[in-house]
Symmetry: C2
Subunit: 357 residues, 2 copies
Amino acid sequence: MNNAIINNMEITTVNESKINSVDFESIAFGREFTDHMFSCDFKDGKWQTPKITPYQPLTLDPSARVFHYGQAVFEGMKAFKDDMDDVWLFRPEDNFNRINISAKRLAIPEFPKEYFLNGLSALIDLERDWIKKGEGNALYIRPFVIATEPAISASPANEFKFMIICSPVKSYYKGKVSVVFAQDYSRSANGGVGFAKAAGNYAAQFYPTSLVQKEGYQQIIWTDANTHEYLEEAGTMNIFFRVNDTLLTAPTSDRILDGITRKSIIQLAKDNNVAVEVRPVSVKEIKEAAKNGSLKEIFGSGTAAAVSPISDFKHGEETFKLEEQEDSYATFFKKKLTDIQYNRTEDKHAWRVKVEK
Amino acid sequence: MNNAIINNMEITTVNESKINSVDFESIAFGREFTDHMFSCDFKDGKWQTPKITPYQPLTLDPSARVFHYGQAVFEGMKAFKDDMDDVWLFRPEDNFNRINISAKRLAIPEFPKEYFLNGLSALIDLERDWIKKGEGNALYIRPFVIATEPAISASPANEFKFMIICSPVKSYYKGKVSVVFAQDYSRSANGGVGFAKAAGNYAAQFYPTSLVQKEGYQQIIWTDANTHEYLEEAGTMNIFFRVNDTLLTAPTSDRILDGITRKSIIQLAKDNNVAVEVRPVSVKEIKEAAKNGSLKEIFGSGTAAAVSPISDFKHGEETFKLEEQEDSYATFFKKKLTDIQYNRTEDKHAWRVKVEK
Ligand SMILES: Cc1ncc(COP(=O)(O)O)c(C=O)c1O
Ligand SMILES: Cc1ncc(COP(=O)(O)O)c(C=O)c1O
């Protein structure tokens, strides 16, 4: 192992990479991790010296608060490799800002920006060989914070661990997605934590999602918890509806995650003269649009899949199928977005950030 | 260490107890743990052999799902020692049933009843010296389940760990509690996980609670997320209102935890000819009752404090103070309940369960 202190970070690297033991062709999402990880402890009222170390297990007391009270938040981002072997991040400061927005709502101390950005670059630089070229290939990056303090009173922890782990991923393409519009279960309420990437938001969706999966659907599009009349977002994606040539998407709120892919698509739509309406979208109008033929497409947006076309949806006992579109917006925006991410095109909003060697 | 296999459980005990290093007089809630813990892993589709081992840290991969998606549930219960040194649990099967209700909602496999009850008795039997006699002293027992599978796709885990850890506690009495009726933040929604002891429900309350604490209040009484017009429960307690000589408490629902203390108090009220109404309780009626003098008491009910009297409350800019009552229901029900728990009285509903030697 090699040790160094760089940018106030303690860096310990592995002697030998495990990369040759990984079959990149048949990799499953989020099950293989790279050689190193970033971690930083919060203790005595402050974030301590950040570290990069070999990827290794954590040792925690059974009373660590994360196990009992779900005091944990996370982010999801990706690094891409271009044809010249340069590595790029996509809007990383937005992920940094968002993890601190999530942290605040979960009573977790905010993480310093330079620790995050320096740690991220140093870690991704170390792992560049794990990033393969080619459409769909990427390094999925998972920053997260957990409450480590060993105490089970129901109050915020005083000790935390911030970490970044990385997992090589292939194209997420799994065929089209069929969805159910939620009518009974709900994901988040006004005044709740739906806008945060809070750990507990995700486990809460597993059971309702398993029920629709038994019926052959993959995901739920959540509706507002009060009336179930307005379409909000999916489990890990924001949602766009194309009615004739206009894109509709719900406004962000304290119930809906402010997705980075969503806001990039809204911007790209403006750049490309596609009309976008950011406003409450009702189940009723989408069903009517499906019936009268004006509903052309539905697609999800998120870091994992970029853009994920939806082929059909169910609401109550009614099912609806969406026709393939020749001029698909899903395809159009996926290409616009990934062209920027893989450095195949101009990047006029400066979303791409190079990982320096 | 001593090893044995009893009731299909592997039991390894410590050579020497750490009990003498514990200052029982100045113990803080949930920071000291006993010598042993119970654990059982779910793997390959089934719960494996349960174990009792020395209390020790857990080693988990940084990708364990509990850290990312909050897939975790827990319970809270107590063991009490009577004057003859016998140890008693209170309605333990209700905690068992409830952890499985919580588990189901969080897509966690249900735990077998005999594993739970045998494990619990064997563990508490080993730790009897940690339970001190005398009002308020007890062993707080924390069963919990966490998703341990190392994989960060947003889907339910296939590997879990069920554990029981124990913490000696003193009387919870900390003076009266002052509360704020929630108006902006919310705890749970219809179709959500509020009725479950899901880890994420608790972290979600920390930040709003810290805001009221800055104003000198201790807790929030949550209202319904839709309208904030109905009073539901506190962070770790159900809530009772005494208007004249009638007790009011909200009905359980998918937003409210079905508290064991709450239902015991409802039963004790019936046994003692105290009128109870289980129905939605509006903020408006409680404020009016406070103004016209018919609101005599508010108290919380829960395992930690049994009964916790509330001295004053705030709603918006209005504050209300509750007078001391000579014939306090809070005091009456606390005594009725703890008399049963500490084996000082008849137990006609068979709530008490002796821990056999
Ligand atoms: C609930 C939720 N909505 C939407 C998204 C999409 O957000 P982004 O585009 O930033 O990945 C995610 C994934 O991060 C999510 O977890
Ligand atoms: C949200 C919530 N409500 C109420 C209670 C009280 O329930 P019990 O009386 O079973 O302890 C608890 C504690 O368990 C709780 O966490």
